[in-house]
Symmetry: C2
Subunit: 417 residues, 2 copies
């Protein structure tokens, strides 16, 4: 048969999705499957069982990453991988991560049932603890695998109950023996829900991220004077929270000022002494700026720095501004992006360029190998909540695009032949 | 001698102040003498010792309030009292509360050494736990004594270590047997530092509060939507913290809009989930509005309610506004205020009307008896901090005004004779 005619089996895909979502299912229709809990173990066991059913070689590495291997005609060539994560945020949705793992499995199943052997070896992967909510940081295991995070550091990460990530891996029986170390990849695809509202609003089925936006984090600390509320007239106050309020609105307005298309957010704020009848003395807040255009993000920060100094001076406060991290934007591999675009077109799915505003396991793999992602619409842009949802037709569409894109990469051997 | 010539002994007053401030003295020059701690007990023991040295009758009531009684010629007449509190906020100053208790003691000492017997009986009082920082609420023991707070409720108040106020009273040996219940007072004076910057700025020695401002508390809760920071464009966000920031600036600006002379403050804010990369979903903040003019404060709230509804609508959020409490302004007794004014004038001290922006033990006593207060300047308006300071000359001036005012009230017997 012409492999361009291959399609994943929507019913089987949905049955697997429904079955795995029973593990840690919440009353509100979501899942609670935090990394390295017993729910995570059950989902892993199911994934391993399904991989073995289609005669995949299954290996577990030192970080608990699960690799299902379908050997190609030329196993000596760099392989083609698709993966995502089965762990969830607490009381989160059914699609984030899980969809990508099951679609990669479904690709292998489709090849298996059609008895198709690709030139290159294929892998369906589950990365351990992408969410980082129990053991920080996020994407720790793809990070270790890509050589960006030290194994020992990852092992020592501790949850609120004093359990280390190493202990938790051992407890659920997923501390494997394979070194958590990358091997040559010809292509890495990650299929994921958008987690934003753009595709749904535009009525588009497939989003093709050209890469991951830059990510700048800043920490702002304002010091004012913590006087009694009652006896201190308005005109002599040095109120750190009023000062912060002005700054927060500047952050909100800065994307428009630098030309739009970027996001700027104050997500975290700590007020001290945070007492009803004491004028706020000290406020700490965070800024998160993301843009495809690094220069635009830097320009926004320059504007904010100047604004903040002026605001602090007007309010009689002092302000300290720390650059916590500035990660440049990361384009995905142009050839893989083209494979995805051509696959979506050939399948007749509407598609558009997009950027990934969030980081994913693909962020680390992108540092060591050609990588790209496939997005499908999130209803209302909601994610990490129980109501997180994607229409099943869209889920199937994304999986078919993944299948066709992986086939393109898996059968590319002219570079090496 | 003419009692109008009587003056307190500045050196003795200062020695007592220095001695009591050694108890719980902090490295930063303040005191840490939280209610019902061993430091509080030591300060109480000293106060009781000093009262007994001048042959006062000392009684301790069920709330640990200490009353030093200097019997007058007509003990059957309503008595004249002055009191304040020896407890402090954690790592606070040397003057808040302590100055008032020691000045009342100094008045009795001055009468004792001059062998002056007043018509009415005089009391120097230490109210237990004015600050309320270990066992809420504030001013609990003057509240119980005035009949505004139930004794049982006060006893049950618990600190962070699970110790009840009753247990703490027993532990330091200050659960007395006298019922914590008021007796007829002809006059109650409370001498206190201003805790604001007005007197110092104006170069005035004595502030004479015409009463206590109204106190309105509101609780505001904003609900937005907690989406991912990265994939959610600015224009579709429903950011509860941006919404709160606009509201906080409206609160800051409202005193000017209603004509000034009032204060409005957001002291407390809670942001949820308060995570660097999640758009704030829910924000709760408090508003404290104080004014001598109740109508002005109510007008401010009406303006804010309308503003908040508009801001919430513009931001796509919902807002809930709760009236937590609205206490009307409380004028002090006009005759006592006049006694204080005349005393300050006769002593040649500059003086001016003021309002008390904070509540004091006098707030409760004012509900059951004629009451008034005497303020002296706070350097820089600072209070509840180690640098809290008042020039000693001003401390002496306030004590002399207290002495003369108490004498006026103590010798007023024509109403009853």
């Amino acid at each position: 048969m012409d492999i361009k005619e291959l399609r994943i089996n929507s019913n089987r895909f949905k049955q697997s999705h429904d079955e795995i979502c029973k593990i840690g299912a919440t009353a509100g229709g979501g899942v609670n499957r935090v990394a390295l809990t017993d729910e995570d173990r059950q989902a892993r066991d199911l994934f391993v069982k399904w991989l073995k059913e289609i005669q995949c070689n299954v290996s577990i590495d030192e970080m608990g990453n699960i690799f299902g291997e379908r050997t190609g005609k030329h196993p000596e060539l760099p392989s083609v991988m698709s993966g995502s994560h089965l762990d969830s945020q607490p009381n989160a949705g059914r699609f984030d991560g899980t969809l990508g793992v099951l679609a990669a499995l479904e690709v292998l199943r489709t090849l298996h049932e059609n008895d198709i052997k690709t030139e290159r070896t294929l892998f369906a992967t589950n990365w351990t603890n992408e969410e980082g909510c129990r053991f920080p940081p996020v994407m720790v295991s793809s990070g270790v695998w890509a050589g960006a995070i030290a194994l020992e550091k990852a092992y020592q990460s501790m949850d609120n109950g004093g359990v280390t990530q190493l202990e938790a891996l051992e407890q659920i029986g997923y501390k494997g023996t394979t070194p958590a170390k990358n091997w040559p990849l010809h292509a890495y695809y990650e299929y994921h829900i958008e987690q934003g509202p753009i595709l749904e609003k535009a009525g588009i089925t497939i989003g093709i991220p050209k890469g991951i936006v830059c990510l700048h984090w800043y920490d702002i600390t304002i010091e004012g004077q913590g006087d009694h509320v009652g006896p201190t007239p308005m005109e002599v106050r040095r109120d750190a929270l009023c000062c912060a309020a002005e700054m927060i609105l500047k952050v909100k307005g800065v994307p428009d000022r630098v030309g739009g298309g970027m996001v700027a957010t104050v997500g975290e704020i700590h007020n001290s002494p945070n007492s009803r009848n004491i004028i706020p003395e000290k406020v700490h807040f965070t800024i998160d700026i993301r843009s495809w255009d690094d220069d635009q993000a830097l320009k926004a920060w320059t504007i904010l720095e100047q604004d903040f100094n002026e605001i602090a001076e007007c309010n009689g406060t002092t302000v300290q501004m720390a650059v916590t991290s500035q990660v440049v934007h990361a384009p995905f591999n142009k050839e893989l992006v083209l494979h995805i675009t051509e696959s979506a077109e050939a399948l007749g799915y509407s598609n558009q360029d997009i950027v990934s505003g969030a980081v994913h396991d693909a962020s680390y793999i992108n540092q060591i190998a050609p990588a790209a992602m496939i997005f499908v619409p999130s209803i209302g842009g909601r994610s990490h909540v129980e109501v997180e949802h994607t229409d099943w037709d869209d889920c199937v569409a994304g999986a078919n695009v993944l299948l066709q894109s992986m086939l393109k990469s898996a059968n590319e051997i002219w570079f090496y032949s």
